[in-house]
């Protein structure tokens, strides 16, 4: 087990290296620079742009830039944003709480919807309930979030005028009002993301439960005279959840990456919107940091998922 763990970590290092080289090269080869607005302003002397390019090291050859970036990254220095001249880690940490709250809530909502519905439709396959649930699940993951987001805004903000459609991370209220305002503004983005994830998860839960429910030990449990509730909760769901848990572990990095489109629509100041605005502004250090952390998380959560699998199912052994 430990030898396996150490071997996986050692393999992960060159993988992350390779990822960083690929990311850096692509970003460096992509055209454009962060000084678009300075260009068309006749009052900014062209030397200013040339100076800034030199100061930010944009004129150095690619390998030199990569080595510099890597050296400072290893020392824990993530560099600074070309656009705001603030350190990249500060920028990311500012966005992290909102991202975790909104995406975490969405994931919880997704699980809360998927688990009962998926289980129920698997226990009564091809019943009316299953047909309806399946139909909605298909609609749910077929509709893109930018579409449902806009429909929600149109319905709840503009026609009904119930909910605000601009998310404000700083709410100048205290006590219950603070909680109320946060709840009100989170409803739409969380619902859009959560129902989308829930729809996908429902299908997974359904098929997992369907597989387990036919197995012999479930029949044995029933034959023992256990109540239906205990059979389902203790014997069926618990075993069916093994693949679902792995799936969820693999989804954790997406929480960090944020939901770019949804964040843009509702102006949620998450990491996704930071990433998109950095890409639009050619703010290389920020893009590099976010994508790099994201890829590290993917590698890491793959490893965790593999380990988790063995822990959940002792038949799997590591060599």
């Amino acid at each position: 087990m430990y030898r396996y763990f150490i071997r996986r970590i050692l393999i992960a290092i060159p993988v992350i290296f390779g990822i960083s080289i690929v990311l850096f090269t692509i970003l460096a080869l992509a055209p454009g620079d962060p000084f678009e607005e300075l260009a068309t302003n006749p009052n900014v002397p062209p030397e200013v742009r040339a100076n800034l390019r030199a100061q930010f090291g944009l004129d150095d050859p690619l390998p030199v830039r990569y080595v510099q970036w890597l050296a400072s990254m290893i020392r824990g220095n993530w560099g600074f944003s070309f656009v705001s001249r603030v350190d990249v880690d500060t920028l990311i940490l500012q966005r992290l709480p909102t991202t975790i709250i909104v995406l975490g809530a969405a994931l919880l909502l997704g699980v809360a919807v998927a688990l009962p519905i998926g289980t129920l439709s698997a226990l009564r396959p091809y019943s009316i309930f299953d047909q309806i649930a399946t139909t909605f699940a298909f609609i749910g993951f077929s509709l893109p979030t930018f579409f449902t987001g806009l429909v929600f805004i149109l319905l709840f903000s503009i026609y009904l005028d119930w909910l605000p459609f601009i998310y404000r991370a700083d709410i100048d209220a205290t006590g219950w009002r603070w909680w109320w305002e946060h709840l009100r503004q989170s409803i739409m983005p969380v619902a859009v993301l959560g129902l989308f994830q829930g729809a996908t998860l429902t299908r997974f839960v359904r098929s997992a439960v369907l597989d387990v429910a036919r197995l012999d030990f479930v029949n044995t449990a029933r034959a023992k005279g256990l109540s239906e509730w205990i059979t389902v909760v203790k014997h069926v769901i618990r075993n069916a959840l093994i693949p679902v848990v792995t799936l969820l572990a693999l989804q954790v990095p997406t929480i960090f990456g944020g939901a770019i489109i949804t964040e843009q629509i509702f102006r949620v100041p998450g990491i996704g919107s930071l990433l998109i605005s950095s890409i639009l502004a050619n703010d290389t250090p920020v893009i590099m940091a976010i994508t790099f952390v994201f890829s590290c998380l993917v590698v890491l959560s793959n490893l965790i998922a593999d380990l988790l699998y063995g822990w959940l199912d002792p038949r799997i052994s590591y060599r």
């Binding site: 000084f35 705001s84 601009i166 100048d172 919107s273 502004a281």
Partner: protein, 598 residues
Amino acid sequence: MDERDIRGLLNDVTSGRLSRRAFVQTMVAVGLTAPMAAQMLASAGVAHAQPKAPAFTPTRRGGGGPLRVLWWQAPTLLNPHFATGTKDQDGSRIFYEPLAAFDPDGNVIPILAERTPSLENGDLARDGLSVTWRLKKGVTWHDGKPFTADDVVFNWEYAADPATATVSVGSYRDLDRVEKVDSHTVKVVFKKPTPFWYDAFCGNRGQLIPKHVFEPYKGAKSREAPANVKPVGTGGYRFVDFKPGDTLRAEINPNYHVPNRPFFDAVEMKGGGDAASAARAVLQTGEYDYAWNMQVEDEILRRLEQAGKGRVEIWSTGACEHIQVNFTDPWKEVDGERSSAKTTHPTLSDPAVRQALNLLVDRASVQEQIYGRQGQTTANYLNAPSRFRSPNTKWEFNVDKANQTLDQAGWKRGADGIRAKDGKRLKFVYQTSINAPRQKTQAIVKQACAKAGIDIEIKSVVASVYFSSDPANPDTYSHFYTDLQMYTNGPGAPDAQLYMEQFTTWQVASKDNKWASRNITRYRNEECDRLWKSATTEMDPVKRAAMFIRINDILIQNVVVIPVLWRSGVGAATAKLRGMDLTGWDSTLWHLPYWHKA
């Protein structure tokens, strides 16, 4: 319009036959700026317009609740000397103030100065070599320290230092020195007679930062200053919290130097998203009070306005959407660059072809169908009010006339309907940035050109690439590796001098200057060069204006640029918001302490 015409107009203003505002608009119409027009009025002895008495005179400070504004491009830093775009200048302007600002008519309005320098009050030297600023007394920074002449001098030292790498360096590096006369008087000394004295310490690039906060961070350490994102200014609101690219919060400054101002208790600037939904949040749901830069089709804005919760604000600016004509050959490589100044364009060098193109831009359709209230046809660029209509600077859309012009010049239609002469075909690549209104404009021009036997190939480049300064990328606007291109620019500043330098020989963009120089059309004309040089030191504002107008006429007559549309500033405000006095010559928030709700 020449010097004599302008003098005649000025006489009309002095005798009351023409209003100040009409005069200013006329000057803006021929490519000058409102502040330049205001200077001409001052030189003619027409008193500065008294700033309009505010419609609302509060009896106490604050009490207005929060003001919520939406900037769909959020500010990313709050140091005015590093502001890369209007978003950063606006974000900084909540906290920082200049010595003087520019109102919609271009008047120099004192903010941190006690009065506007002028020849009459003796603060402005007659030889144009210096200007004395008297600072308002009793002004304090948000941390309680007094605002003095030392701060003003420091701003010059800070911004002019190349190691600080400020964006405002252009306004400060050419000053000979800035002297402290006494604790509240500063003398700015120029190296040569400077008609544009209202640049340093005025408007957006004149926002003043405190010496005691920024002194340790002058030069190479400038990036590390904590105050770059935590401003300490003199403005009506002081800093609470800032998340770059998202939210900026400010609270009322209880010690603001104008009595009973500001009105709102707090300001919240939210960023992100897109212009259309920002318009919705103000005009339709009323979640926000003001939204900036409404780059949304006018038809949509009109529909949103019908909700009755807000209105669209429109004001004139100096920005002009125009088509540039390449005078060099973009398809031949000479010494490692295309569009080299050593070449001439094979077909566009024929004046008849350029004249024909000028006749084929249907400005009225572009204005009506695309921009609506957000722009005015070039009537305001070339068609000064009727009494100055010059036969040479009129625009029209006339396909027949374009066909005639080309026929007479010997361009014959080939079998495919495209005109050619000596084996050279009229086939042009026309590029611009990706932006829906621009693509629609391209289509309108392409259609008209097809009717005159000119084949236009449309090219659109992502804005962040098109406007980048990357010398290795051939698709930037400054490389101009196509025959025609279109974008908007304008004087930006209250003076047209730098704007007009775009058509001088020494500014021709080339490989040698990494395409950083600003003459993109590569047009060269000795008269333009000469006029521009004399205008830089001409102290008589009227003579100077006449020179710039002459340059403008040369450009139009020779079809160096084809102006398409004068663009207006567009914002959205809730129905009750008042007192914004939006101007095209300064920040949207220049008058923020006076904003209020009726």
